[in-house]
């Protein structure tokens, strides 16, 4: 039995980091993730961790220092949001290409501009093709649990990729909820220690990392990255299973909420899933067969499994908390629809861009989406598949 606590999402992330006890943390303050390095530096100041805390002068340096530390043979972690991730962007790609299993806590916030400090997923969507494993978390418990599983996945020899754990800025990062923590010793035993095969600080085997990689080799190196990302799927399943045995908390690639017999369903990520579950319950009371598919593992994307899980529905709505501004729909919508197409699942799908810049998404909003789905089922489909939820036009 774990420890019952009441923590905000940021506190939960910081506590997970304390239990992981990484060798190096390099971070820079940015709302709404600031509290994570703030809490963590208190652990450092009070000698509760062995970590070397590097209070860098920018997020670019935060990611660069993490790369230096991880390449040197240390476990390195960071936390950021929005523009902080944007400033890291160059190094985000380099971290994954160098196959360094850095772990980041990404507290999702709208990327400027104009400036906005509130939640949406535009920061995460900006790095969706960067070669990082991306796990999304509905609440503080999931943010904590995903972080505890992170190193086991990222550092696996068949993977060796950086990993980010996402949670919604303010909505979960600053909301205090009940949480069940693992005891320190159990957490430590589960996470295990980091034993890299090749690293800079091995003086008996000096290595060079980060070459000029031209036409003769870059393609093969990129292929290996792609292969590692495909391997990650199996490892995520294994680690999640082991975590379930330890805690009783079950994690899959995605959560299916009352999806078994559902006729209509919403696909979304992070905190909106909580609101959606409530709406599903209300609709079920009125005999409406509503369901939810909450994506946890966004990268790698579980194409086949998602298509299968949606195959018996009559209509699906994808909620995108970031607009791709491509005139065609959000990123999650594109992934879901292509997953369905290649797996020959032909049912009406509609996209809703919602919650941009922290716009509140209420249960009424979610209910309206289900009502639209009922309408779509009745009419046998729609051509109007790229929609907005809660915007003043």
């Amino acid at each position: 039995m774990g420890i019952r606590e009441r923590l905000s999402g940021n506190e939960a992330a910081a506590i997970a980091m304390k239990q992981i006890n990484p060798d190096v943390v390099a971070a820079f303050p940015i709302t709404p993730s600031t509290e994570i390095p703030q809490y963590f530096s208190t652990f450092v100041s009070n000698g509760q961790v062995d970590t070397e805390f590097v209070a860098v002068e920018s997020e670019h340096s935060a990611m660069t220092a993490c790369i230096g530390a991880e390449a040197a043979g240390a476990r390195a972690m960071t936390a950021t949001s929005a523009n902080g991730l944007s400033l890291m962007w160059e190094q985000i790609y380099i971290a994954s290409s160098l196959r360094l299993p850095i772990v980041m806590s990404l507290v999702n916030r709208a990327v400027s501009g104009p400036l906005n400090i509130h939640n949406d997923h535009s920061d995460a969507m900006g790095v969706r093709d960067s070669g990082w494993i991306m796990l999304f978390s509905e609440n503080n418990q999931e943010a904590y649990d995903n972080l505890l599983m992170a190193h086991r996945i990222a550092e696996h020899k068949d993977v060796l990729l950086p990993l980010m754990v996402c949670q919604d800025g303010f909505i979960t990062s600053h909301s205090i909820e009940n949480i069940e923590l693992l005891e320190d010793d159990k957490a430590k035993a589960f996470v295990g220690s980091y034993k890299p095969e090749h690293y800079l600080l091995n003086k008996d085997e000096p290595i060079a990392i980060g070459p000029l990689d031209l036409q003769a080799f870059l393609f093969e190196h990129k292929y290996q990255q792609a292969e590692a990302m495909r391997n990650a799927k199996k490892v995520i399943a294994e680690v999640s299973k082991e975590f379930e045995e330890l805690t009783g908390r079950k994690y899959s690639f995605f959560e299916e909420y009352k999806l078994d017999d559902a006729e209509i369903a919403i696909v979304c990520m992070n905190s909106t899933a909580g609101t959606t579950k409530y709406v599903v319950d209300q609709l079920r009371k009125n005999g409406i067969k509503a369901g939810l598919l909450k994506v946890r593992m966004f990268r790698p994307f579980p194409t086949e499994e998602i298509a299968k899980a949606l195959s018996n529905l009559k209509a699906v709505a994808v909620l995108d908390k970031a607009d791709s501004l491509n005139g065609a729909g959000g990123a999650l919508f594109e992934d879901i629809t292509s997953a369905m197409f290649v797996n020959k699942v032909q049912i009406p799908v509609v996209d809703y861009v919602y919650g941009i810049g922290g716009r509140d998404t209420t249960s009424n909003d979610i209910e309206s989406v289900y009502n639209d789905l009922i309408e779509i089922v009745k009419n046998g489909g729609t051509n109007d598949f790229y929609r907005y939820l809660g915007v003043r036009k």
Binding site: T64, G73, P206
Partner: protein, 321 residues
């Protein structure tokens, strides 16, 4: 023990191997090799390098010229990258995860573009945080790797591909930034300006001090570029010598705030002698452009005097005491 180049070469093998692809007559590999030679034989180094000539010519997959551990990520962040590795070392050492007898030193290399310009923030941050590392800038006075574009280290009037000497604008119209002074403003335990001349004594000794001074240290080393400066490749050592004889590139160090000029030419040579052999200053020697040489000379004189004053001021109290 007195400095003896022959003995050093005999007893300390080069840590920077031959076969790299730097140009003939380039100053940078000499800097890299000399700095690394200052390491004690049993010490191991982690070298971090900014994107630039030195990086792209020494580590083309699957070959490397570096016998120590080496890491490169991008243009503007050799300092932060080195700082991260140093933080890892500190942490792992403290936790007993590394052999007790292991001594690893942290050295970052960047050109002037990666140091004076795009990497200035990363450098300033790493130095301010006090990482036990040395940052070495090999200053060739322009973005040479991308084809000779002006940087903030480019001297005034120099002809570069983004400050071309044209009919209306005669080359770069701004003075060179003084990065060594900016680093002095960080109040580091060791800051020095050097060059590879004669038997490399100045650079070797300053590298040794920089590496074995605890805490952050900064070395700014002039590294001429035959392509960008336009001098014959066999003239490298002569150009280096002219840079210090004209006081264009004064050699000095700042130890705990005290300035010490390590070379004072007995007869300071006129700046023309440094400018003349270089194609980038050719237009300054056209009739009617005498004012440019005069202005250049004045700037060199002013900066040299400023340095002499700083040396005097910062050593005054100790002499009196």
């Amino acid at each position: 023990m007195a400095y003896n180049l022959k003995e050093i070469i005999a007893t300390k093998p080069s840590r920077f191997t031959a076969g790299h692809r730097m140009c003939a007559g380039c100053g940078a590999p000499v800097v890299g090799r000399t700095v690394l030679r200052a390491l004690k034989n049993n010490d191991h180094a982690v070298v971090s390098c900014a994107t630039g000539c030195m990086e792209v010519s020494t580590f083309i997959y699957p070959y490397t010229s570096w016998t120590d551990s080496f890491v490169h990520t991008a243009f503007e962040c050799a300092a932060a990258n080195c700082a991260g590795a140093e933080a890892a070392y500190k942490s792992l050492k403290k936790q007993g995860k590394l052999p007790e007898d292991q001594h690893t030193k942290f050295i970052a290399f960047g050109g002037d573009g990666g140091t004076y310009d795009i990497g200035l923030q990363s450098l300033s941050g790493a130095m301010e945080r006090g990482h036990d590392m040395v940052y070495v800038c090999y200053d060739n006075g322009a973005y040479m790797n991308t084809g000779i574009q002006r940087s903030s280290a480019t001297p005034k009037f120099a002809d570069t591909t983004t400050s071309p000497a044209g009919k209306v604008i005669p080359g770069k119209m701004q003075s060179r930034k003084d990065l060594t002074q900016i680093m002095a403003g960080h109040h580091l335990p060791y800051v020095a300006q050097s060059i590879a001349v004669n038997n490399f004594k100045d650079l070797y000794e300053k590298s040794e001090k920089a590496i074995y001074t605890e805490g952050p240290a900064f070395l700014n080393v002039l590294a001429p570029c035959p392509r960008g400066w336009g001098y014959p490749t066999d003239m490298l050592m002569e150009i280096n010598k002219l840079a210090i004889e004209t006081c264009y590139w004064p050699l000095y160090e700042i130890v705990d705030g005290k300035y010490h000029i390590t070379y004072k030419p007995a007869n300071k040579k006129p700046i023309e002698e440094f400018l003349k052999p270089q194609r980038r200053f050719k237009h300054m020697f056209q009739p009617g452009n005498e004012w440019m040489i005069e202005e250049f000379q004045n700037e060199v004189d002013r900066r040299w005097q400023e340095l002499l004053d700083l040396e005097e001021i910062t050593n005054r109290s100790s002499e009196e005491g």
